[in-house]
């Protein structure tokens, strides 16, 4: 491949594209604090990989097979981050911590992202609704 970095006098050349989807709703269709998670994602990607770009909200849908194929519509923010494969491997632990935290704390069925041409998902098990606690009757 032509050495465009040298030809253009660029100091950084990254050939691996990481695309992350930040959802606007949780698995039960309730809104989440998307702005917080976008900010967190940019902070993590900036720290680990040197930069990232968040695009305006789009419209998306995800099929939750654990809920009988229920379609969950939301307005995700897509974040792009250019990096290198070796850097990605080196920083995998930090990225993993963030992706799993977002999935858990934002109550997602899955966190989806793309590395170059591969779509990847981290799936989270469906939590059973907590059964109502029996009321303790006061004994007289």
């Amino acid at each position: 491949m032509a050495d465009f970095a040298r030809a253009l006098g660029a100091s950084k050349s990254a050939s691996t594209l990481l695309v992350l989807f930040v959802p606007s709703k949780d698995r039960t269709d309730q809104s989440i604090d998307q702005a917080y998670w976008v900010n967190q994602a940019l902070t993590v990607l900036g720290t680990l990989f040197g930069g990232a770009t968040a695009f305006p909200q789009g419209r998306g849908v995800w099929r939750d097979d654990a809920q009988g194929g229920k379609l969950l519509f939301d307005e995700p923010v897509v974040i792009q981050c250019y990096t290198g494969e070796q850097t990605l491997e080196r920083q995998a632990s930090g990225l993993r911590d963030f992706l799993h935290r977002m999935g858990r704390e934002a109550r997602q069925g899955a966190v989806g992202f793309v590395i170059d041409r591969d779509y990847l998902e981290i799936a989270f098990p469906l939590k059973e609704p907590t059964p109502p606690q029996p009321k303790h009757k006061k004994r007289r």
Binding site: E89, A92, I115, D116, R117, Y119, L120
Partner: protein, 114 residues
């Protein structure tokens, strides 16, 4: 394309769901098609000898007949015309071969057939 995608997925605790097609719709699809064409142009080298003929890829030693609809052939012809330049002509079937090879690299093939 990430070479160790399975290893990276494992380290992220993720599963590779699917490989995206090399060419899709819209502006991103157009950009990917441009990459396919650029790869093809680099692969094609002029033939040797007195009657060199059309530039080709030396590794293409078989010329099997591939069935296709008229619509597919028309589309390949149109795309090949767009991919051709004054200095390098790309034929519809050369473009088809490149797209086919790209598609096949994305399909996992079991080493141990059942």
């Amino acid at each position: 394309m990430a070479k160790n995608i399975r290893r990276i997925a494992g380290r992220l605790g993720a599963k590779v769901v699917t490989r995206l097609p090399d060419v899709g719709g819209g502006a991103f699809g157009a950009a990917r098609l441009a990459a396919v064409v650029e790869t093809l142009r680099r692969r094609l080298v002029p033939g040797q000898g007195l009657r060199a003929g059309r530039p080709t890829d030396p590794s293409w030693i078989h010329h099997p007949k591939v069935p296709m609809s008229e619509a597919t052939e028309r589309l390949l012809t149109r795309l090949a015309e767009q991919a051709s330049t004054a200095g390098r002509k790309v034929s519809p079937m050369q473009l088809a071969a490149q797209i086919l090879e790209d598609a096949l690299t994305g399909i996992p093939v079991s080493k141990h057939p059942q």
